[in-house]
């Protein structure tokens, strides 16, 4: 780390440890922009692991922060008490533009819809996809400039995830960056700079309607041709989905677009940063590429690209000695749980051969556990196999973080690859 970053961190820790607990606002975007949020989560885990934030801390009102690993597991596995409806972020759905998606549904509707899209990530489908994923990754890496600075986020992370989604949907390849745009739009906070804050609702609805129109075109094309293995064809021909109403079809597409996009993208960027900051771990990996799967799990933990998921209490319930009331919003901070020293040894270290590296909570737990986790791991694994085949090092020269308390990631990451192997 550079010395000015270290100064900022020291100052943040100082502040995090001294301000009144009631003033800690983990949704303050400044903490995410300058990457000082972990200091505040450390304090909450220590002193008030089930913490109530006042209404001023979020535009949608009061909420609880659950920050310890085991408390998060307890919430995540009790889906009857902690519902995923009406939303899994602290923002409630817009009244006049609802996007129903199964991530934000409870059983039985959740289970039925999840089972329909599940075959796209079955082990057999993933092995079918693997050669294509590898070929595309090889091409993308071979086109990277050597000895000059470029944005890894744009040239690699965004590119590869857009390609992947285009493959899953059999989406017109040349239009694949539309998928990136829709994903960004679906998750950008009103004050993130992407929108005119005053006209957020209107602008958001307009972008989503474009997305809807595009995908309706693809649906109409697939419904009239023989069933194929892509996701849209599966939905258009599936017994339980072919009568889905358009808004629900789109809700679920957005779910897959966001699910498969921001998350994997930011893990790809995060892996480069983590290995750059930890040269000893990079050396270990180069010496033993069989550590790649373990390094991938470790990166997913270390990055935790989705910082939290929200639940809503369906009844009054006690958690960690606090009384949560029916209707209260509860944020499960996976990012914090993954740094819980009582469950994970040396949680702030990045260790490519960590024992039991898969034991992290970045994919959530319980019935909503990430559907795409194996696909994400596969992409990351192939990416690093091909990087190690080509580049002895990738140096990060600068980065900018996404101003969001939900998507924990990078807007840009400037890197330089000094030479090829």
């Amino acid at each position: 780390m550079k010395s000015d970053e270290l100064d900022a961190l020291a100052e943040a820790r100082q502040r995090a440890n001294t301000i009144p607990l009631a003033d800690i606002n983990v949704c303050d975007l400044e903490l995410w922009r300058n990457d000082t949020k972990l200091a505040y989560f450390d304090r909450l885990r220590r002193e008030d692991p089930v913490h109530l934030h006042p209404p001023e801390h979020h535009r949608n009102g009061a909420f609880w922060s659950v920050t310890r690993f085991n408390d998060i597991v307890a919430v995540d596995t009790d889906h009857e008490t902690f519902s995923s409806e009406p939303a899994i972020t602290l923002d409630d759905p817009m009244e006049d533009f609802e996007l129903p998606m199964f991530i934000a549904m409870d059983p039985p509707r959740h289970d039925l819809q999840r089972k329909i899209v599940q075959p796209i990530v079955s082990p057999s489908n993933l092995s079918t996809l693997e050669p294509l994923i590898r070929r595309r990754i090889e091409t993308t890496l071979d086109e990277l400039p050597i000895g000059e600075t470029f944005d890894w986020v744009d040239r690699v992370s965004v590119e590869l995830t857009a390609q992947m989604l285009a493959t899953l949907f059999d989406f017109p390849f040349e239009d694949r960056r539309k998928l990136t745009f829709w994903s960004d739009a679906a998750t950008a906070e009103p004050d993130s700079g992407m929108w005119d804050v005053e006209r957020f609702d209107e602008q958001f609805a307009a972008v989503m309607t474009d997305c809807l129109t595009y995908f309706t075109g693809l649906w109409n094309e697939r419904v009239n041709t023989e069933p194929k293995g892509d996701l849209i064809s599966m939905l258009a021909h599936g017994e339980a989905t072919r009568h889905m109403d358009p808004q629900e079809y789109l809700g679920n597409l957005i779910l897959l677009i966001v699910g498969g996009n921001d998350t994997t993208r930011n893990t790809m960027s995060g892996s480069v940063l983590a290995l750059h900051q930890n040269p000893d771990q990079h050396a270990k990996l180069v010496a033993a590429p069989s550590l790649i799967p373990s390094m991938v799990s470790e990166t997913i933990r270390w990055q935790t690209p989705l910082a939290y998921m929200r639940r809503t209490a369906t009844r009054d319930v006690e958690l960690g000695g606090k009384s949560i009331r029916k209707g209260d919003k509860v944020a499960m901070w996976y990012l914090s749980g993954n740094r819980d020293e009582t469950v994970i040894e040396h949680p702030n270290s990045f260790i490519v051969d960590r024992p039991r590296a898969r034991h992290h909570m970045a994919f959530g737990f319980g019935i909503h556990r990430c559907l795409g986790n194996r696909l994400a791991e596969l992409q990351l694994k192939i990416l690093w196999e091909e990087i190690l085949n080509r580049f002895p090092e990738i140096n990060v020269v600068g980065l900018e973080r996404v101003p969001s308390a939900f998507v924990n990631g990078y807007k840009t990451m400037h890197v330089e690859i000094p030479r090829r192997l």
Binding site: D111, P123, R358, F365, G366, I367, R369, R374
Partner: protein
Amino acid sequence: MVKITFIEHSGVEHHVEEKPGLSVMEIAVKHSIPGIDADCGGACACATCHVYVDPAWMERVGGCGNLEESMLGFADTVAPTSRLGCQIQLTGQLDGLVVRLPKAQH
């Protein structure tokens, strides 16, 4: 001590002895049996400890709990003999249990 046999998808058998009281998943992890991931560490929350109970043992092992059944519903290649290894405790009653492992934990 109680005995348990794990049979990998490839047919390789592992015969293990343990003190009673651990779960099938915990025994597999402790003895590094390949094919059990146990991502959630036994909270019935990840379904990566999926095993098939030998039909002869089904009755003694018993049925799934509610959450277990939901979690199994999202696993791949589920059969009527499927259980989550973290939810079966190896007691004296199950001495000699035989479980098979799926091709992949998914």
